[in-house]
């Protein structure tokens, strides 16, 4: 049967795109007349409706149970080595808790950086980009020694490392003299730094200060690893700074991500953060060999991002912002909530589940959710 005909018929029903696609594919295989086509689609729609969530169903509790139970089977071990590259990644239960708690920085921030077309196939160019990102300190490039009698700091530059990290000597000199306010002199591969005022204390302070200067790269990125994946070079980093990395030359900012959800919310907005929560949580569960339906995770992510900013699931977020005093008191820090509510003279409308269980009423779920309103006095027009 004609695809267009099928499509036309399908459009009359509010199917989600994925369901529509599946039906279309199946129908295209069959040779149908218009009448049976209509019948089949009608039947599909019936089936679709019967698979929808019932109004009043406790979606949140089902999601909580569905994520919680597999959670009991997760490893408690915090560290794990991901793949060949020796980057430490927090996985398993600690990572899942981290995602739900929305920590300011994850315990192992990691970025996945993809490169622009011309860079992604060339190892040398990929290395170049990596050098632009990885934070390089003076201790990586040179040995430091202090000449006390001459009031000088001597840097024995390692030419090989300098070349590999693509640090220009002139630039290094400039950077050092500018940020340390010292006179820099170069003599056969060594740099002599002399502070403007000759004091022993100043000299030692300068050395300490020098060690903290980021010569090249982005401060937060401690290490970069280049890996070949699906025919292109991908950079993995220890440490994360999405905003800066996205602006680095050679980086394809469209496909560059981090595992720091708050950072994504800040740089890419709330919807991106929602996607990141789903992806991170799902990856964590899948890595442990657990199959949790995405819908549960999507619900959690929706709740976490509903307000326009990412809030955690626990006491300082979703659970802590409930309207009901009794519900909050039943969760954590019971006394505080009750005390505060008593001081303020709060009322509890008993509209949720927990509070109704506490007072011993029928809960507002399923059939309990229905309220009847009847109009008195004749029929309305």
């Amino acid at each position: 049967m004609d695809i267009k005909e099928i499509e036309k018929e399908l459009k009359k029903y509010p199917f989600p795109e994925s369901v529509r696609r599946d039906i279309r594919e199946e129908l295209a295989k069959l040779d149908l007349n218009k009448k049976s086509l209509k019948k089949i689609i009608d039947r599909c729609y019936e089936e679709y409706l019967s698979n929808l969530m019932e109004p009043g169903e406790a979606a949140g509790i089902i999601a909580a149970q569905s994520i919680g139970e597999p959670g009991t089977q997760m490893t408690m071990r915090t560290f794990h080595y991901a793949g060949v590259a020796e980057i430490n990644v927090t996985l398993g239960l600690p990572r899942l808790i981290e995602i739900m708690d929305v920590r300011k920085t994850p315990s192992t921030p990691i970025m996945t950086i993809r490169l622009q077309d011309d860079y992604s196939n060339d190892r040398k160019l990929a290395r170049e980009v990596a050098n632009r990102i990885e934070a390089t300190y003076i201790t990586d490039l040179a040995d430091i020694s202090v000449d006390i009698t001459g009031m000088k700091i001597i840097l024995f530059l390692d030419e090989k490392v300098m070349e590999r990290k693509q640090v220009d000597k002139d630039e290094l000199v400039k950077k050092l003299s500018k940020s340390l306010k010292v006179d820099v002199e170069e003599k056969d591969g060594k740099l002599y730094l002399s502070p403007k005022e000759p004091s022993y204390r100043k000299l030692l302070q300068t050395v300490e200060k020098m060690k903290d200067i980021v010569i090249k790269g982005i401060k937060e990125i401690r290490r970069v690893i280049i890996r070949k994946e699906e025919g292109e070079y991908v950079l993995y980093t220890e440490g994360s700074n999405l905003k800066k990395v996205m602006r680095v030359k050679g980086v394809d900012y469209r496909r560059t991500t981090t595992n720091n959800i708050l950072e994504i919310a800040e740089v890419l907005g709330i919807e991106a953060a929602r996607n990141a929560i789903i992806k991170e949580a799902l990856d964590t569960l899948e890595e442990q060999g657990l199959n949790v339906d995405v819908r549960h995770i999507m619900l959690v992510a929706d709740m976490m991002t509903n307000d326009g900013e990412v809030k955690q699931v626990g006491r300082h977020g979703v659970a802590g912002e409930k309207v009901s005093v009794l519900s909050r008191a039943a969760f954590e820090v019971t006394v505080n909530h009750l005390l505060e509510a008593a001081i303020r003279g709060d009322t509890d409308n008993l509209s949720g589940v927990t509070e109704n269980v506490i007072v011993g009423q029928a809960i507002k779920l399923g059939t309990g959710d229905v309220e009847l309103i009847s109009k008195l006095g004749g029929r309305s027009k």
Binding site: S18, M246, Y253, R254, R255, G269, I270, D307, G308
Partner: protein, 77 residues
Amino acid sequence: MKIKLQEHILVPKHEILSKEEAEKVLTVLNIKKHQLPKIRKEDPIAKEIGAKVGDVIKITRNSLTAKEAVVYRVVVE
């Protein structure tokens, strides 16, 4: 190179609805504006598309289950 955040793989499509469209959405859903999920005025994407407080933004997500899912957010302070 100009960075367009909307092109990022994690960012779904955001569109500002006109007043009439927004009104229509609210009548179909049978809710008030403040009942919609929110998006901050300072949100990078809201800024990029130039949304103002009170605007309704239509977001077309790439859903893992429905392939395409349309949701709405209202811009707040």
